[in-house]
Amino acid sequence: MSQSLRTPQVYRRGFRDRLVEGLRYGGGVGQWSWLIHRLTGLGILLFLVIHIVDTFFVVAFPALYDHTVAIYSGIISGLHPTVNGYYWPLRWVFRLGELGLIASVLFHALNGIRIVLFDFWPKAVNHQKTLFNAVQIVFWVIMILVTIRVVSPLFSAPEHVPVLKTASAPAMVPSR
């Protein structure tokens, strides 16, 4: 077939460029939704791995499980007395992480529905931008409500996990 020979030297992009060069490409909403879909997917998968392992503790090591989930509320217990305690920034970090997780799953789900529409509803491809806008609207409406729900308990002490024994008033209640 084609006989054209290769030049002795061509510039081939390395692995890093293959991964990053495209980010400068001015693709539209399609490209960004693809990228976010991929990143949220990978993020959720990472969380899932952790989540399965910690859930395994429920059966294997109930106490370890309880100590682990308590960390989500900013409470470290069962370790050395100098470490044990309530750390409100830790609680904030986990709460924001939780928000990120919900956002990821929600976006991944909504955008997933958009992708499925492309596959099985022939006309959808002509409305990809509209569909992306719809995904965004639904996403933000839900996320605002979720944020209120998830963040509001942060302004009071952890209520439902009195992991630490009742005694005098703590010194580390988050400031309002």
């Binding site: 077939m1 084609s2 006989q3 054209s4 002795p8 030297q9």
Partner: protein, 615 residues
């Protein structure tokens, strides 16, 4: 090392080249050498259609087509060749369809056809005594003969041929630029080409070589031609002392996009489009009362020039309007369907044209007329060949063994002094196929002839000296001057004075060309080098064009001499052959036109009698 051997070498991968490759590669080893990827060839820019008398929508015959071709060419057409063209066109269209070409379809599933400039049939209700202007007074009426795929017919042909070449496993040397023919004892034994990506020279040893390198419209400033159309094939043949035929006939297409020269297909007018001058008058009424906007291209281009000279351009500028709005088509009753059309219909018939106007003019042709001006479009002339594509050595008709030419680079002569719209595609297919067949036949009866030692040496020297010379002036200055000269002094209208000036300018440029140096001294993809080499080809072809134009002291078809406004069949009914000898100006000689004669009742008549050409 870089030596290749094939029975047939085809230079150029446009319509003619690939059609020939499909034919010859069935029987003998064939390689296509092309400076572009095949799908970049300019065949792909052809728009409106490819004519063949299929009679799918109305009665037609190949004789009608031949009549139109001969008349369109202002009788400077070899009539046997024209008959072959029109007869075989029918067969070729079916072959293309069987290859998969997606023609538009009629309601009953057959190939759709449309009207085109200069395509006519006898008027069944013709009455010589009828009042002028009525339908019955027209001896001939437009006919739907151009088979089309929207306004991308050439694109479909090019793609289909490339697809078939892939299917057949034709060998391609993509982005190899031919630099020289290897001629030994007056016969062709191969070519020298540069592999653009590496800058290495390659030699191709062959039994037969086909030049299918396309046109050379880039010698003009405003041109519908691609940058790649620099006439490398004809120029190299010319340097080897072979003649160039009918070079003075260069077609200007009437409807190029204002300033850019991008083609707006004749199909615009075939489908009912009308041209207007600055005063809003349909000026073709005056110049071609019968066919009006569907007159032949040279007629329309001259008409536009006349309007512009008379100051009737739009807004006092040098353009007129082409109007394809549905309401205009309906108002002037120019719709080919006979009934009113709507803008949806127009959009479906001419999608690319509408896209071009929107992109390049910022004009929506559905709502506004498009500014147009004539644009250099097609070379009727080229390397002279017989009907088998074999290159002629001189006016005697002797052939050069092993050398073939087809397509725009060749002059079979089926276009004469002015090509009929759509006939370029017909030419490619019909004569591309015939060349391919004859090359295979020739290669089968012949052994490889000895190949000279180092045939690439002169080419290597030329390139080395180009690369080693200091850069005295930018090469583009030469090109710009050549294009301006050719456009102004050798354009639609010509005079002795302007042509002489053009001859001298080109000669001066030839001298300066010899001292050109390059900025890019590299070997990898040196487009600087290629552009300069291409300029050399264009300069040689300009020289031949101007010399042939100076010699022809008459007006015929696309060659309009203001100082000799009439056709002169007693002195100039012949094909010009421009041949270069050494460094001076070429000599111009003439070859008789092939005329078909009929014996009837002991009297000899011509089948296509010379008539005054009116539309």
């Amino acid at each position: 090392m870089n030596y290749h051997r094939f029975d047939c070498i085809i230079v150029g991968a446009g319509g003619a080249g690939m059609m020939a490759a499909l034919e010859s590669s069935r029987k003998v080893g064939t390689a296509v050498v092309s400076k572009l990827y095949p799908t970049r060839s300019h065949t792909g820019a052809a728009q409106g259609g490819i004519a063949a008398a299929l009679s799918n929508l109305e009665d037609d015959s190949w004789e009608n087509h031949a009549y139109d071709t001969i008349k369109g060419g202002d009788y400077l057409v070899d009539q046997t060749a024209a008959e072959i063209l029109c007869k075989e066109a029918v067969d070729c269209i079916y072959e293309l369809e069987h290859m998969g070409l997606p023609f538009d379809r009629t309601a009953d599933g057959r190939i759709s056809q449309r009207r085109f400039g200069g395509h006519t049939k006898p008027n069944p209700i013709y009455d010589p005594s009828a009042t002028p202007g009525t339908d019955a007074a027209k001896p001939r009426i437009p006919v739907m003969r151009a088979c089309h795929a929207a306004d991308r017919t050439g694109h479909m042909i090019l793609q289909t041929l490339y697809q078939q070449c892939i299917k057949q496993g034709v060998t391609f040397f993509d982005e190899f630029h031919m630099l020289d023919l290897i001629m030994v004892d007056g016969e062709c034994r191969g070519i020298v080409a540069i592999e653009i990506a590496t800058g290495q020279l390659h030699t191709f040893h062959a039994k037969s070589v086909l030049l299918a390198t396309g046109g050379f419209g880039r010698m003009f400033k405003t041109s519908s031609n691609a940058y790649a159309l620099t006439g490398d094939g004809p120029a190299i043949a010319y340097r080897h002392g072979l003649p160039l035929e009918d070079m003075e006939f260069y077609q200007f297409h009437p409807t190029g996009i204002y300033r850019l020269g991008i083609l707006l297909s004749e199909a615009c007018r075939g489908d009912g489009g009308v041209m207007f001058n600055g005063k809003g008058e349909r000026f073709m009424d005056v110049y071609a009362p019968n066919l009006k906007d569907l007159a032949s291209r040279d007629v329309c281009s001259r008409s536009i020039e006349q309007e512009l000279r008379a100051g009737r351009g739009v807004n006092g500028k040098d353009y007129v309007y082409l109007d394809i709005r549905a309401e205009t088509i309906n108002k002037y009753k120019t719709s080919p369907t006979g009934s009113d059309v709507d803008s949806h219909w127009v959009e479906k018939r001419l999608p690319d044209i509408i896209d071009f106007a929107r992109t390049y003019l910022g004009v929506d042709p559905i709502k506004e007329p498009m500014p147009i001006q004539p644009t250099a479009h097609y070379a009727m002339g080229g390397v002279p060949t017989d009907v088998h594509g074999r290159v002629l050595r001189d006016t005697s008709g002797e052939v050069v063994p092993g050398l073939y030419a087809a397509g725009e680079s060749a002059c079979v002569s089926v276009h004469g002094a002015n090509r009929l719209g759509t006939n370029s595609l017909v030419d490619l297919i019909v004569f591309g196929r015939r060349s391919g067949k004859d090359m295979a036949r020739y290669a089968l009866d012949r052994e490889f002839q000895p190949f000279p030692a180092n045939p690439e040496a002169p080419t290597r020297m030329a390139i080395d000296s180009l690369l080693s010379r200091p850069r005295t002036e930018p090469w583009v200055k030469l090109r710009d001057e050549m294009q301006k000269t050719m456009m102004d002094d050798c354009g639609v209208y010509r005079t002795e004075e302007r042509l002489t000036r053009a001859r001298d300018t080109i000669a001066g440029l030839q001298v300066r060309y010899k001292n050109l140096g390059l900025q890019d001294k590299g070997t990898v993809f040196n487009t600087n080098l290629l552009e300069v080499l291409e300029l050399g080809c264009l300069l040689d072809l300009s020289e031949a064009t101007v010399a042939s134009a100076l010699a022809r002291k008459e007006s015929r078809g696309a060659h309009s001499r203001e100082d000799f406004p009439n056709r002169d069949d007693t002195q100039f009914f012949g094909h010009s052959f421009a041949t270069k000898h050494g460094d001076g100006q070429p000599t111009v000689t003439y070859k008789n036109v092939d005329v078909i004669t009929l014996e009837k009742d002991g009297k000899t008549t011509t089948k296509y009698p010379l008539e005054i050409r009116k539309y």
